[in-house]
């Protein structure tokens, strides 16, 4: 059924995926809005969104926003700022206010000051603390990343990586979009890996870890560059921990995989969808009927259950938030 039974891939986003052999060898299409409770590395569906929300609303919750691409105005979504605004509106309307937010990169489309400004104003309007890592679209200013670092680089190392603790969970923001090599995938680099090893040194293995970065740290689809060349080295450093959750963006669709104690999860974009791997000639903005666009856009909320290793991940499309 698969060449590696330990690494089932569970795309959660698109019915189209059910026909896709390369990624779905051992997978199952689950449908949007299902909540995962991750226990001992094995995800369990808690049921439909309503029930699950009740079941998981016990611990601190944070939000993952991704790929807002402010400035994007092509047919796949003529107004990316509008859909980000909608996502923010839904977050503000949540009954339980999220403790903080993570943005997993591609805040802007072209790293322009106005695009950074618009994003900052919209996201900042929530007054919810937000932690960022850059996507490749955030580093295409003339100074190759200065615009991003001037805004978000305070207290970070290198191209913008850092860690912090919240609610007993150790969060690590990594940058895998700089110094990319011809023909390669995402890249962390030796310096960042050494920093990560040091950051994890002496840490209790019982402490839950959340790693967030733009490009998936695992290889989703190498033909489209959806992976990180030295991601395995980072994962090896995380192997000894009992609960590791890896949150990524970049691919604008939900894909989940579990390997040992590590749960991998990618979030939807708030701007435009991209095709399921292998179903189109290339990645890139996917045009869907306008009335369906909000089914493909969304956010992820993550609940930290106190006294438990489990983190509950809930993906909600903009159309249902």
């Amino acid at each position: 059924m698969t060449d590696d039974p330990k690494t089932p891939v569970l795309p959660v986003d698109s019915p189209a995926g059910i026909d896709r052999r390369s990624l779905l060898r051992c997978g199952a299409w689950i449908g949007a809005g299902v909540v995962w409770s991750v226990s001992g590395g094995v995800p369990q569906s808690l049921g439909l969104l309503g029930e699950a929300a009740a079941a998981t609303a016990t611990g601190p919750t944070f939000i993952q926003l991704s790929d807002s691409h402010i400035g994007f105005d092509k047919p796949a979504n003529p107004d990316a700022l509008k859909t980000l605004n909608e996502a923010i509106g839904k977050i503000e309307a949540m009954q339980v206010k999220p403790g903080f937010m993570l943005h997993t990169g591609d805040i802007t489309h072209l790293s322009k000051p106005q695009q950074f400004d618009d994003a900052a104003q919209t996201i900042g309007g929530t007054r919810i603390q937000t932690y960022y890592v850059p996507g490749e679209h955030d580093l295409v200013d003339e100074d190759s990343g200065k615009a991003y670092l001037d805004r978000y680089g305070k207290g970070t190392k290198g191209a913008g990586y850092y860690s912090f603790d919240q609610h007993g969970v150790h969060f690590i923001g990594l940058v895998n979009v700089v110094n990319l090599k011809a023909g390669g995938l995402g890249n962390l680099g030796e310096e960042q890996l050494a920093w990560l090893a040091n950051d994890l040194k002496g840490r209790r293995t019982s402490q839950p870890i959340v790693v967030f970065a733009h490009i998936p740290l695992w290889t989703v689809y190498a033909d489209w560059g959806w992976g990180t060349d030295d991601g395995a080295q980072a994962l090896a450093l995380l192997q000894r921990f009992g609960s590791v959750t890896v949150l990524n963006g970049h691919i604008h669709q939900i894909i989940q995989k579990v390997e040992g104690h590590i749960t991998f999860h990618t979030a939807r974009s708030t701007a435009f969808p991209q095709p399921v791997p292998g179903t189109a000639p290339s990645p890139g903005p996917q045009l869907v009927p306008a009335e369906q666009l909000r089914d493909y856009l969304g956010i992820t909320s993550v609940t930290v259950k106190q006294g438990s290793k489990m983190l509950a991940l809930t993906d909600s499309p903009l159309s249902q938030l």
């Binding site: 489309h109 679209h137 295409v140 990319l180 090599k181 011809a182 290339s282 890139g284």
Partner: protein, 120 residues
């Protein structure tokens, strides 16, 4: 070591000169080899043609026809030339003066690669 020049403006009158030369062998014979402009388009995250062969002094023009930005950067060992990010419809001209084989890629999507082969 790598004397490349990014031309600031749009494609110049050179295109018209080449077109005229096509109708006049005499003109071709009279003039030494003129610098040409070779087009590379970007469609579906692919440089096309992937490999182009030009003469020293020729210019390569990249045009991004995707709905997503791309750029061009010399691969390791192929110099330090590059194109700034090109949004949809954006172009970039680079003139290659010296012979050699120059691999390049898109630094945003590094699985996109190509080669400029410069031969006298």
């Amino acid at each position: 070591m790598f004397p490349f020049h990014t031309l600031p403006g749009r494609r110049p009158a050179r295109v018209r000169i080449i077109a005229a030369a096509g109708f006049s062998l005499a003109l071709l014979a009279a003039a030494p080899a003129r610098a040409e402009t070779v087009q590379v388009t970007i469609d579906n995250f692919t440089f096309g043609p992937k490999d182009v062969t030009v003469k020293p002094g020729d210019t390569v023009t990249w045009t991004n026809r995707d709905d997503i930005p791309h750029n061009v950067r010399a691969a390791l060992g192929a110099g330090t030339w590059k194109c700034a990010v090109m949004d949809t419809g954006g172009t970039c001209d680079i003139t290659f003066k010296e012979a050699g084989e120059f691999k390049y890629f898109c630094a945003l999507h590094p699985h996109m690669t190509g080669t400029v082969i410069v031969k006298p």
